[in-house]
């Protein structure tokens, strides 16, 4: 039976580990270590290899969820983790200094994978006073000619993680 692999990426602190913990039916596998740089002001621990969670479908088939490390220095892990993946969820933390640039960095770096599969964007911490409006995200990707799903979510909520996966599944099924 084939296994289904979905990947969650995004900047450090966007909620990738939290998202997988929220939806995985087994205790998530984490590779968190102490944060030793500027990020320590935001979070004590950061993922350095991957997060892993799983869901079992009614017929026993597995859906595997892989979270990537966020920092660009772990780019090598991005390439390893997308291998054989079915689709990508990019989480964007709207409380960071430049969320639009963050989105584009991940769109660019995962461009080959996205071309072959599908992508959904989840915006987190959109209540931050400096958070760009959703419309600004759409405007910024307009030139690509592709309509990406961009959804505001509270990644701590299982239902919202399910919503992102559901949106990804819909794009895989109907948009391609």
């Amino acid at each position: 039976m084939s296994e289904i692999k979905l990947i969650i990426t995004g900047p450090p602190g966007a909620g990738k580990t939290t998202a997988i913990a929220a939806i995985s039916e087994t205790a998530p596998v984490k590779t968190d270590t102490h944060t030793t740089d500027d990020l320590a002001a935001v979070k004590e621990q950061t993922t350095v290899a991957m997060d892993f969670g799983e869901l079992t479908l009614d017929d026993g088939q597995k859906v595997f969820l892989y979270g990537t490390p966020g920092q660009r220095r772990f780019e090598f892990m991005w390439k390893i983790l997308v291998e054989g993946g079915l689709g990508l969820i990019i989480l964007v933390d709207c409380s960071r200094p430049d969320p639009l640039a963050d989105l584009h960095m991940y769109l660019d770096n995962f461009a080959d994978f996205i071309r072959q599969t599908s992508v959904v964007v989840g915006l987190t911490r959109t209540d931050h006073p400096d958070a760009p409006a959703v419309a600004e995200f759409y405007s910024s990707i307009e030139s690509s000619g592709r309509v990406l799903p961009i959804l505001e979510v509270d990644i701590r909520e299982r239902e919202d993680v399910a919503l992102l996966i559901n949106a990804l599944v819909s794009t895989l099924e109907f948009s391609r």
């Binding site: 289904i4 079992t56 479908l57 859906v63 419309a135 759409y138 799903p149 239902e159 895989l172």
Partner: protein
């Protein structure tokens, strides 16, 4: 009055069906009641549970009974279909189609099959939405029970007077909708609340299966951006429509219906919402009326099998283990 029975249903689905009939009775043109007898006007058949369903269909059709298949299968079919799981909106849409079909059959015996008739409208809400959108009316007033909600469409905001929330009022079977030039005693209604999903929600809730005036039903609809998360949270089927209409070439109403299995009335509601939210390119208008549009049932085959994706969706809908 129309009578309805079912075959092959699990006891749980039968219970849900009976409950839904009670709930939606105010939103169908005719009065529907559940019957345990064999002589009902309409029979819904769970084709997933009944091995010999083709024979059942033939038998019912020979008796001129309307047969509706109830299935999780999403491949196209020329039969009237209710998609699993049972949803009130789908049931209303199918009932309205059946009523039109029966009325049409009575009027013209020779014209009975394969054409879904215009969906009956309970309220002239698409016209009201158009008037609001075009600035011909100021506020929308929606009442249900002891609650009235006022909607300021240009301002993307609303305020409610009463205990119910706006989604609850929009979903109420006894709601009434009208326009009003002003909101009286605004101070007592509380503050205006911004609501980015407002236009989408009005489209999906108040369309009654009719496209807004000026939207040409024939052609490709292309979505520019997806709705706020509140919309798919409330109506997960909208995700399939978003994906279909996000394709480079867009999709027609018929394609969207055939490939997603979403009821036509829901597709139209979604398009209206997207239109109000300025999120969709619609085909150029060919007629300036908002009259309900009848189209043939789509029988084109889906582009690819989707069992796996359906299973993932089913899993996501379940609570965490």
């Amino acid at each position: 009055m129309k009578t309805l029975s079912c075959k092959g249903f699990s006891s749980k689905d039968q219970l849900v069906l009976k409950s839904l009939i009670d709930l939606i009775i105010a939103r169908t043109s005719d009065t529907w009641t559940y019957s345990d007898g064999d002589d009902s006007d309409v029979v819904i058949i769970d084709t997933d549970n009944l091995d010999d369903h083709d024979a059942v269909f033939r038998h019912l059709e020979s008796r001129h009974t309307v047969a509706i298949e109830y299935t999780s299968d999403t491949t196209a079919s020329s039969r009237l279909r209710l998609q699993k799981p049972l949803r009130a909106a789908n049931l209303i849409s199918v009932f309205n189609s059946v009523e039109a079909r029966i009325a049409n059959a009575e009027a013209d015996e020779s014209h009975t099959h394969d054409t879904l008739q215009p969906l009956a409208s309970q309220e002239p809400t698409p016209e009201i939405l158009t008037a609001l959108d075009e600035g011909q009316a100021k506020y929308l007033s929606i009442s249900a029970g002891d609650t009235t909600c006022f909607i300021d469409l240009p301002g993307n905001r609303y305020t409610c007077r009463g205990d119910l929330t706006l989604p609850a009022v929009l979903g109420a079977s006894d709601r009434t909708v009208s326009t009003t030039p002003q909101v009286e005693n605004l101070a007592t209604t509380g503050e205006w609340r911004p609501y980015p999903a407002l236009r989408w929600l009005l489209g999906t809730s108040l369309s009654n299966g009719e496209l807004l005036r000026g939207i040409n039903p024939n052609g490709q609809f292309k979505l520019h951006h997806w709705p706020p998360a509140e919309v798919p949270r409330a109506a997960p089927y909208t995700l399939s429509l978003c994906a279909l209409l996000s394709r480079e070439a867009g999709a027609s109403i018929e394609e969207a219906g055939a490939q997603s299995g979403v009821a036509r009335a829901d597709i139209i509601g979604f398009i209206n919402g997207a239109y109000l939210a300025r999120a969709i390119t619609t085909p150029a208008a060919t007629k300036p009326t908002g009259a309900p549009v009848a189209t043939e049932a789509d029988t084109s085959a889906p582009s690819k099998p989707r069992g796996l994706f359906g299973k993932i969706r089913d899993r996501l809908m379940r609570k965490a283990r």
